[in-house]
């Protein structure tokens, strides 16, 4: 256990934290935009899965990692259109729409995957490599943790201030937050509520799918059924725990990723704790956080409520 505090191990834990964070952060920032617009999108898991699958097809068919990212994002756009149509146009219950979409994504990706590989050997790929930032990566400790990551990890971290700026410092952000709090105010000003909801959900789903694409291209060498493995639900928990604010969501995700990285290393180092307990640690922490935050909810007032003109 004492070796947990050795420098090399600490670096490994922190670098792992950043890697684990990356897909969650993309997806959470996307879902944040969606939910601030009043759409309780429960389809995060399915959207991440679709993004991951499209990225897999993209990279194995074209050989280009960036085309694969594009394919993943486009899959997210399509998922966004479906979710927006169901929630903003058809006014289907948001929970049911999202849950249905998760099941659809799980079945469709498996079916497409089987059709894609048919009877041949499953194609694999080499994913993103680390992209050390010249100069900064050589700083002892910090350089290895922060500046020797994959390119998309830096982008995910930059996403947080960007989304904050979008939400709180732009006219579009003000309108978007208004969608979640009081859509009628927009409507009486003659601004289209559904059009803005469509835009928010499509943008949010594209970001969510980008997270799924990174999960594929940054970690794996192949696709497997239900590849996203429950990470979409972690994103939803992070949103609630982070009280629907970019900074809070970031903190929740850092905490989750750190606990997971810590649990990973403790198990590998042979900590005298049952590894099942270590694996459950991030989820237990999520539940505890949820218990505390429900008293100070910053949940948008009209979240999950279909807007109807009176």
């Amino acid at each position: 256990m004492s070796q947990l505090f050795q420098e090399a191990i600490l670096i490994s834990i922190l670098a792992s934290t950043l890697r684990i964070m990356t897909p969650l952060l993309f997806s959470a920032m996307g879902e944040l935009v969606t939910q601030r617009a009043g759409i309780w999108n429960m389809g995060v898991e399915g959207t991440m899965l679709m993004g991951a699958f499209a990225a897999y097809i993209g990279v194995t068919a074209s050989g280009s990692l960036w085309l694969a990212v594009l394919a993943g994002v486009l899959a997210g756009v399509l998922m966004g259109v479906v979710i927006a149509f169901m929630t903003a146009t058809m006014r289907v219950d948001h929970f049911i729409a999202g849950l249905g979409l998760n099941l659809l994504a799980s079945g469709l990706t498996l079916y497409w995957f089987q059709s894609y590989i048919k009877r041949r050997e499953q194609p694999t790929f080499s994913g993103f490599q680390n992209w050390p930032i010249p100069g900064l990566a050589d700083i002892p400790f910090i350089g290895e943790v922060l500046f020797s990551q994959r390119l998309l990890t830096y982008l995910a971290l930059l996403c947080v201030p960007a989304i904050w700026f979008l939400l709180y410092r732009t006219r579009y952000g003000l309108e978007l937050r208004c969608l979640g709090e009081n859509p009628k105010a927009l409507d009486v000003k003659g601004l289209s509520v559904p059009a803005r909801q469509y835009a928010a959900v499509i943008f949010g789903s594209a970001m969510t799918a980008l997270g799924g694409s990174f999960l594929m291209l940054g970690f794996s060498d192949r696709f497997l059924a239900d590849f996203s493995a429950g990470r979409g639900w972690i994103v939803i928990v992070a949103l609630i725990a982070g009280n629907w604010a970019p900074k809070g969501v970031l903190v929740a995700i850092v905490a989750f990723a750190f606990l997971e990285a810590l649990a990973t290393h403790m198990q590998v180092l042979g900590a005298p704790v049952p590894h099942q307990l270590l694996l459950a640690l991030p989820y237990l922490a999520s539940i505890v956080i949820l218990m505390f935050v429900r008293f100070r909810s910053g949940q948008p007032a009209r979240l999950g409520v279909a807007y109807m003109r009176e």
């Binding site: 191990i9 490994s12 498996l110 970690f219 590998v268």
Partner: protein
């Protein structure tokens, strides 16, 4: 008059006896010329566990034991009640002679086996209950090839630390990991080893982090049971594949693999079914685990492919010798199914 009556009665009794005898004998050996197998998959054919079995079926079709024309139909991955429903549909269709449920399905078979006594049910691997009768329990151990790979890793490791990333600590996972470590220790007694379970059958991203953590703690040879060679490739170390020759997944990284070979299992089951059909031999499924060792073709060590030159010639010879000793019975690989623990410092 009386004698006539007696002789009539005797003739009648004899005829009756003959008829009864005929009825009690198995239908005159109509030798079957075809065999239909319904396969319930647990992971999909792209996965080593299921894929290797389908390949064995293809080889059996080619070999045509007893002159049988073997055909099969397999499902998408199914579990629990869904698998039970699929088995019932297969059974009720009357088209299938064997229902081969390729994982933990004895709970589902239990509900069907009495109702369909002519169908031979097969369940596979750990977590099953040995029900006997028309349920056969195929078990697969690849600990012997894992031991061979362990000696290879023990000979070649520079750091003196080897790792294994597993899915769940199940009986037929533990045996393999323990044997891998035992093999490595047999050639390098001071060897440390590191083990991690991701507690999921399929989560490559989690597998990646566990593998990276092992590499960070010094492991430079990893037995990868959790479907991801990306971290080994990135760290430029060698990984071993599991259950099938996985070199094609990462040709510069997967030095070798343990291979599950289902041919002897399949032949065993086909023979049991055939004996039942032709000789009326009652189904007598095993209640205890039954597995074929490497010497009987139940498992194998995959070739090095293009990485042969990466292994020094003397190491190659030594590893081959270990494999030979297992094959001729002079070396018995210890079967240890206790949960493996990390010893790496």
């Amino acid at each position: 008059m009386l004698s006539k009556l007696i002789s009539k009665a005797a003739a009648f009794a004899a005829a009756l006896l003959l008829a009864m005898l005929a009825a009690s004998l198995p239908a005159k050996a109509q030798k079957p010329d075809r065999l239909s197998v319904a396969v319930i998959l647990s992971a999909g054919i792209e996965n080593g566990w299921d894929g290797t079995f389908i390949k064995a079926l293809e080889r059996a079709k080619e070999a045509a034991p007893h002159g049988l024309n073997i055909s099969w139909k397999y499902t998408e991955p199914l579990w629990g009640d869904d698998a039970g429903d699929a088995m019932r549909l297969f059974a009720e269709s009357g088209e299938y002679d064997i229902i081969w449920a390729h994982s933990t399905y004895s709970d589902q078979v239990k509900k069907l086996k009495e109702e369909f006594p002519e169908i031979l049910f097969v369940v596979v691997g750990s977590g099953n209950e040995g029900l006997g009768g028309n349920q056969y329990w195929v078990y697969k151990r690849v600990h012997e090839p894992a031991y061979v790979l362990g000696t290879l890793a023990g000979k070649m490791t520079k750091t003196g630390v080897v790792g294994a990333v597993g899915t769940y600590p199940a009986d037929d996972v533990n045996d393999e990991i323990n044997a891998f470590f035992a093999g490595a220790k047999s050639v390098r007694p001071d060897l440390k080893h590191s083990v991690a379970f991701i507690e999921s059958w399929y989560d490559p991203a989690k597998a990646a982090e566990y593998t990276k953590a092992q590499i960070a703690t010094g492991a430079d040879f990893i037995l990868q049971l959790a479907n991801n060679f990306q971290p080994c490739e990135e760290a430029k170390i060698y990984c071993f594949g599991n259950f099938s020759d996985q070199n094609s997944f990462a040709p510069k990284t997967v030095l070798s693999s343990t291979e599950a070979v289902w041919d002897p299992d399949l032949n065993w089951i086909i023979n049991e079914w055939y004996a039942h059909k032709t000789e009326g031999k009652a189904y007598d499924g095993n209640k205890e685990k039954h597995w074929f060792p490497m010497a009987e073709g139940g498992s194998a060590v995959a070739p090095f492919h293009d990485l042969e030159s990466a292994v020094p010639e003397n190491v190659r010879a030594e590893v081959k010798a270990v494999e030979g000793k297992i094959m001729d019975g002079s070396l018995e690989v210890p079967l240890d199914v206790s949960e493996p623990k990390t010893t790496a410092k």
